[in-house]
Amino acid sequence: MLRYILKRLLFAIPTLFAVSIIAFIIIQLPPGDYLTTLMADWASQGGAVEAGTVAAMRERYGLDQPLYFQYYKWIWGILTAGDFGISFELGKPVTELIWNRLGFSLLLSLLTLCFVWAIAIPIGILSAVRQYSISDYTATFLAFFFLAVPDFLMALSAMYVMSAWFGQSVGGLFSPDYVDAGWSFGKLVDFARHVWLPVVVIGLGSLAALVRIMRANLLDELSKPYVTTARAKGMSELELLIRYPVRLALNPLISTLGWILPAVISGEIIVSVVMSLPTTGPLLLRALLTQDMYLAGSLILLISVLTIIGTLISDILLALTDPRIRFQ
């Protein structure tokens, strides 16, 4: 097992290298660069820019150098000093920008995951065990409804309802008083009061999907002969359900747990923008729009790293839960 993990990690190195090159090239693909975007912005605001200024800035940012040299400088900085470069637009180190938001992204993802699993698994089980009952049809209807509603619409309506009818402050993860304050008990309470809305809004879509998957998986398992065997042993229906079919129906789901890692960075961009959450999603969107080269590149690289780690975690989880995989 350990050897397998080491081997997988070793294989990850060339993959990451290739991904970093591709990411860098893709960011450069649209015509122009950060400065062209910046100039267009200035021009639209009525400012005139002298040609000399542009050339000077281009030299300052290193954009006049050939592409491979820019790449080399960037990747060398990462490898030797952990330096991901500077964001052109925000003028801050990329590392600092990402770190500021990564924590919230991760926290939000984990909270959403817990929320989704805690609700979806029991509903899925109920839906399968009582197939074609009123509760099954209700769960099915709601699941398809929430799957169909676009998440930004859900975000907007939820925010409208909460602020117009309940007078709650919505948007962001904190009230204005606490945004820049240090951590305290008050801030934690304030966080809890804000965070549940985005968790519910983001979660509803995947919750609905998970209910359907759990229902389908469990229906497959319920008719398997080992269920009859366990019943013939004299086991009670509830214990039997949890011990055998549910355990097996969860296997494929457990193996998808690792996939939330890459989604931490890029997931739910639209909802995050609509609800102005301090996560990495809006940061990535902005960086791509303005061709903020180093910031966008670093975020994409980070997504790839997390994808690789996430897949590895998935494989390990699957091996842990299913001996058939483990012994192959």
């Binding site: 080992y226 009859t228 065997t229 013939a232 004299g234 097996l248 839960t321 001996p323 058939r324």
Partner: protein, 570 residues
């Protein structure tokens, strides 16, 4: 609960007029319709019948584990406990505590497919120990000790390591032993065995039957044994219950059922079994195939090694003469199917030659033939598969399925239609059924469709891989008769792959016995069956249950051990 004085000392279970119905949209399906029988201590009752006769539902009704929407509609199932108290199981709530205290403790059950009937993700020790925990609350080390003891009883080698293994790490026979250990955990009075040996090889089947017998004697259990194999019935039964479409056709001592059957259906059932005990009439009267005739197929030193290193086919040589049926017999894993597939280049053998004599007299090596030639050859060499369900596309109707090879051969329009009708008649299907889809046909009819498809392009050689294994015994001889009729009409040759010695004996002219990828013995069927030369063939033959209760023999069988050859009983 009450004390029932009318029942003899030894009766444990009395089933009276049991009715189990399945309400369907189209009406009520009476799966079990007025079945009565008794189970006695130390005795074995065999329930026989073809698929769909309701024998399995009867067994499940006793434990109230019938799949939904089946329900017990009437009758009684009286269980007499050791303390002489009597409970009517049919009156208990299927989800209630009372029936659960019977399941596994008083009455235990083992099933047909030991792989899918055991959980793939739990250790076998855990699965066996559960019954002990549920009924006696035995936990921890004590439970482990008891489970080890059970594994020893069912003769699983190295119980200390086996207890922590998973089902997929065991062979089919060992898995069934695990099932049996699980059933024995609480010392039940009754063991219900639902086709426990059907999925096993004959030699493994003989081992399991022996084990059940031994445990029955040492535990004093009553055994309800469900099977469709009359040979097994003759070997183990004290009493027999013959079922057909949910009703009991006949019930009596095994001797009477086999030698003085009262009911017509029983007579037919026994007849179709006995028919398969000897060579087919049409083959007895036919002139022997000339030994000097130039072979149609000449396989020389064929070998195939899988990437895993398994030598599936190991230096196999055989010939098939025109108009002849060559049987390939062997147990699962002997490489017989792989070898058959090599003959059609479904698998590519790595060494050897498969010389096939074309219609124009040329000899072509199928193993090295180029694409165009192979396409041509595949018109002359066809295959019939084991699974009549899986080998027919569910999205095409029967006419389309049979027409497919004809279309590939360029037959069109009116001619195609006529040919399809003709083929359907030839295999005994109504041409009017051509618009129907495979699911509307029974297993035997589906296999006929497969045969019609195989003979559509007038092949000269057909490789039939376990073509009758999925069929009931009464259909089996019909199918073999059909295949022989077609052989005589069309001048076909067959390579007939089977694990079942009786069908081989019934229709094959010559037989090759395969064991671990090698052919250990070849010869005329009569000679191989009656005077086997190789010890493996002897072991295989002696493990086959013999459908005559007066001559029980599998417990005296000859065991083959490739390392050292000894007879089991002396």
């Amino acid at each position: 609960m009450s004390i029932n004085p009318n029942v003899s000392q030894n009766t444990i279970l009395t089933v009276e007029d049991l009715k189990t119905y399945f309400p369907l949209r189209t009406g009520i399906f009476k799966a079990v319709d007025g079945v009565s029988f008794e189970l006695k201590r130390g005795k074995t009752l065999c329930v026989v019948g073809e698929s769909g006769s309701g024998k399995s539902v009867t067994a499940r009704s006793i434990l109230q584990i019938v799949d939904r929407p089946g329900r017990i509609e009437g009758g009684s199932i009286l269980l007499t406990r050791a303390d002489r108290s009597v409970t009517d199981l049919a009156k208990l709530d299927p989800r209630g505590k009372d029936i659960r205290s019977v399941r596994g403790k008083e009455i235990a059950m083992i099933f047909q497919e030991p792989m899918s009937s055991l959980s793939p993700v739990h250790r076998i020790g855990t699965q066996i120990g559960e019954a002990l925990r549920i009924h006696f609350g035995i936990l921890g080390n004590e439970q482990r000790e008891r489970v080890l003891e059970l594994l020893r009883q069912v003769e699983i080698p190295r119980p200390e390591t086996a207890i922590d293994r998973y089902t997929f790490e065991f062979s089919g026979g060992m898995r069934q032993r695990v099932m049996i250990a699980m059933a024995l955990a609480c010392n039940p009075q009754v063991l219900i065995a639902d086709e426990p040996t059907t999925a096993l090889d004959v030699t493994t089947q003989a081992e399991i039957l022996d084990l059940i017998k031994k445990l029955q004697q040492s535990h004093g259990m009553a055994v309800l044994f469900i099977t469709h194999d009359m040979g097994v019935v003759a070997e183990i039964a004290d009493e027999v219950l013959v079922m057909y479409r949910g009703k009991v056709m006949e019930r009596g001592p095994v001797e009477q059922i086999f030698h003085a059957p009262q009911d017509d259906y029983t007579r037919r059932l026994i007849g179709s079994v006995v028919k398969l005990e000897k060579k087919a009439e049409v083959r007895l009267t036919r002139a022997p195939i000339a030994a000097e005739a130039a072979p149609l197929l000449d396989v020389k030193n064929l070998s195939l090694t899988f990437p895993s290193g398994l030598k599936a086919v190991d230096d196999v040589s055989l010939i098939v003469r025109p108009g002849e049926t060559l049987g390939i017999v062997g147990e699962s894993g002997s490489g017989k199917t792989t070898m058959g597939r090599c003959l059609l280049r479904i698998y590519d053998a790595q060494a050897g030659a498969i010389d096939f004599r074309r219609l124009d007299g040329r000899t072509v090596d199928i193993r090295t033939a180029d694409k165009a030639e192979l396409k041509d050859i595949r018109r002359e060499v066809r295959m019939i598969f084991q699974d009549p369900v899986g080998s027919l596309s569910p999205r095409k109707n029967v006419g389309q399925i049979i027409a497919e090879p004809l279309k590939l051969a360029g037959v069109k329009g009116r001619e195609l239609e006529d040919r399809v009708s003709e083929l359907m008649l030839q295999v005994g299907l109504e041409p009017a059924w051509r618009e129907r889809y495979p699911h509307a046909f029974s297993g035997g009819q589906r296999q006929r469709i497969g045969i019609a498809r195989a003979i559509a392009v007038k092949p000269r050689l057909i490789v039939a891989d376990e073509a009758t294994s999925a069929l009931d015994v009464s259909l089996r001889s019909q199918m073999l008769d059909l295949m022989m009729k077609l052989q005589d009409e069309l001048g076909l040759s067959y390579v007939f792959i089977s694990h079942d010695m009786s069908v081989i004996r019934y229709m094959c002219d010559r037989v090759a016995v395969m064991y671990r990828g090698r052919i250990v013995e070849t010869g005329d069927t009569d000679q191989v069956v009656n005077h086997p030369r190789h010890d493996y063939t002897r072991a295989l033959l002696s493990a086959i249950p013999h459908p005559d209760p007066r001559e029980r023999r599998i417990h005296k069988r000859f065991r083959y051990d490739p390392a050292r050859t000894v007879s089991a009983n002396g």
